[in-house]
């Protein structure tokens, strides 16, 4: 029988991405994330309406509230939650659903398979976070009358950059946990809540062992953590923070690819 010619590796990786996108879109997790991402724009609209009420004396500007949302909600909550649940599930859900066999018995090297899934995760996270941030920014700025719009645009670009680096770094760590552990979500949750949130605010150099420390180091808005860092002289420069975040993403993605390449997935019948 004539052997059908294999397509190029890029075409095979694209096929993995297409298949993963269909899976991601079909999950309830995506619906929950979309609702969580819709919250800030909805609150921005509410803020714009409420500040027009003359009896309420609201001194905060729309940009102040946007900054607050960026720190407390996007950076500390939504980014970590999306990375945790999407990235750990990339391989783990295939194992849980017992569909991994269909992927592994194809001419796609395991590291390529994982890389394609990681790229899909980046796209999915960006598709949820970016519109939400852009919309919130737009509505908050409009509520201010868009006076300082041009000056604040710089902050928005930095915010998007910080979120992109956060998605990459957290995603790499969580995808590694997903390939390595049987219960990655539990360990990931511990990492996200106990390690990331608690350790970051411990004075001294401990904070440098967290991803959040580096994200906050390049964050354009003023934060409590930055104040604490400055007080104890444990700040990290922006170029260094960017390098460390890229390094974390690269190292953990590499570890995930190697772990996945070596792993056997013996499914229980």
């Amino acid at each position: 029988m004539a052997q059908l010619a294999l397509g190029p590796p890029s075409a095979r990786m694209l096929a993995v991405i297409r298949l993963t996108i269909r899976q991601v879109l079909a999950t309830r997790t995506t619906l929950v994330f979309a609702l969580l991402a819709a919250l800030p724009p909805a609150l921005a609209v509410l803020f714009a309406v409420v500040r027009k009420v003359p009896t309420l004396h609201i001194n905060a500007t729309g940009f102040d509230v946007f900054s607050f949302f960026m720190v407390t909600y996007y950076l500390h909550v939504l980014l970590v939650v999306i990375a945790l649940f999407y990235a750990t599930a990339l391989i783990h859900s295939e194992v849980e659903e017992k569909t991994i066999t269909y992927l592994l018995l194809r001419p796609v090297p395991k590291p390529h398979l994982l890389l394609a899934k990681y790229l899909t995760y980046l796209m999915a996270a960006a598709a949820i976070l970016a519109p939400s941030i852009l919309l919130s920014f737009g509505v908050f700025e409009l509520s201010d009358g868009a006076h300082g719009y041009a000056g604040h645009l710089r902050y928005l670009l930095w915010d998007l950059g910080v979120m992109a680096l956060g998605v990459m770094a957290y995603g790499a760590v969580f995808v590694f946990l997903g390939t390595w552990l049987k219960r990655p979500v539990m360990v990931g949750l511990f990492f996200a809540v106990v390690w990331e949130w608690a350790i970051t605010y411990v004075p001294g150099y401990f904070g440098k062992l967290t991803i959040l420390h580096y994200l906050l180091s390049i964050f354009p808005h003023s934060t409590v953590q930055r104040g604490v860092q400055t007080l104890f002289g444990s700040t990290t420069s922006r170029p260094m923070a960017i390098m460390v975040l890229l390094l974390i993403a690269t190292v953990f993605l590499g570890l995930a690819m190697e772990t996945f390449r070596r792993s056997e997935y013996v499914l229980e019948q």
Binding site: M1, A2, Q3, L4, T101, R106, P107
Partner: protein, 307 residues
């Protein structure tokens, strides 16, 4: 004949548990039935030859190459897993096209190959329905379709007839025979002897992690026939039948079976016994309503072979 699949002194342990133990086997092209009771090690053997796991010791080669961590070789291999797992949100057609895409085929090629595979397993009509809505038999057929859609040289089918209706079973058995006749290498795992007998005379029997028999199923049947067989006969006059059967030297023992409502006979010559039974019944006016060979099942075969 050059072996397509070679397992050379391979063992595989799961911690303290032995999956397979020092197995060496070489399979040529054509259909081979992999038989064994549940937990015998056939799933481990199948996982080894499909490269899902690597041997603890020894080697496993398919088409002359090691199968573990060899993605290009996967283009020449098709596998139908036993587990009933799918991307349920996809239609049957999208499922096939998605998996064909992993070979790097163009979208047009994926569509064409998927359509062809759906025709082969007679699933064209349900192709655009979501897999979640499929019956067990349809899910089984779509699993077979994904295993053959990319036209592989070697096909591994793990319990492919599970859950299929009689029509589906007959159709799938016919397909497997055709693939074997066309020069493909097909390995079919099953725990039902007569299912495999319908596909191929060549079988490989696994028990307790070892190959206990390899070769022609008829030879193995002959081997079984050398051992005493227990045959249960349901009839209207069990006492009379028992008395008459005892007159024959090939009958070793006779026992009344109250729960089964008949006579259980042990015979060293089942072929001769079966040819005489109608004559005995007719001569003495005994109405036989059923005959059941208690040894005509796989577990009994293994009991004989490992005794």
């Amino acid at each position: 004949m050059t072996p397509v699949i070679e397992v050379i002194e391979a063992s595989r342990w799961y911690g303290q548990v032995v999956g397979i133990n020092d197995v060496s086997v070489a399979l040529p092209s054509g259909v081979t039935g992999l038989l064994g009771p549940n937990g015998a090690g056939k799933s481990t053997l199948l996982k080894l030859v499909t490269g899902q796991i690597r041997p603890s010791t020894g080697q496993v080669r398919v088409l002359g190459e090691p199968i573990w961590d060899n993605p290009p070789l996967m283009a020449r291999v098709g596998f139908c897993p036993e587990q009933d797992a799918f991307y349920d949100q996809l239609t049957g057609r999208r499922f096939l096209e998605g998996l064909l895409g992993l070979h790097g085929f163009t979208r047009a090629d994926c569509r064409e190959l998927a359509t062809r595979a759906l025709e082969v397993v007679a699933m064209q009509e349900a192709a655009d329905r979501k897999i979640a809505s499929y019956s067990k038999g349809m899910r089984q057929r779509i699993k077979v379709a994904q295993a053959i859609a990319h036209d592989p040289e070697v096909i591994f089918l793990d319990e492919p007839l599970n859950g299929m209706d009689p029509m589906g079973r007959r159709h799938t058995v016919q397909l497997i025979r055709e693939w074997g006749a066309a020069g493909r290498t097909v390995v079919v795992s099953s725990h039902v002897l007569h299912e495999v007998e319908a596909m191929t005379p060549r079988i490989l029997m696994v028990n307790q992690g070892r190959i206990v028999a390899e070769g022609d199923v008829h030879e193995i049947r002959a081997l079984i026939d050398e051992h005493p067989h227990r045959i249960l006969i349901g009839c209207d006059q069990p006492r009379l039948l028992a008395a008459r059967l005892m007159d024959h030297e090939d009958v070793l023992s006779v026992r009344f079976s109250a729960e089964e409502g008949g006579v259980e006979v042990a015979t060293a010559r089942p072929d001769r016994f079966y040819s005489r039974l109608p004559e005995i019944a007719e001569t003495h006016g005994i109405r036989v309503d059923r005959i059941f060979s208690q040894d005509d099942n796989l577990q009994a075969v293994f009991d004989y072979l490992v005794r």
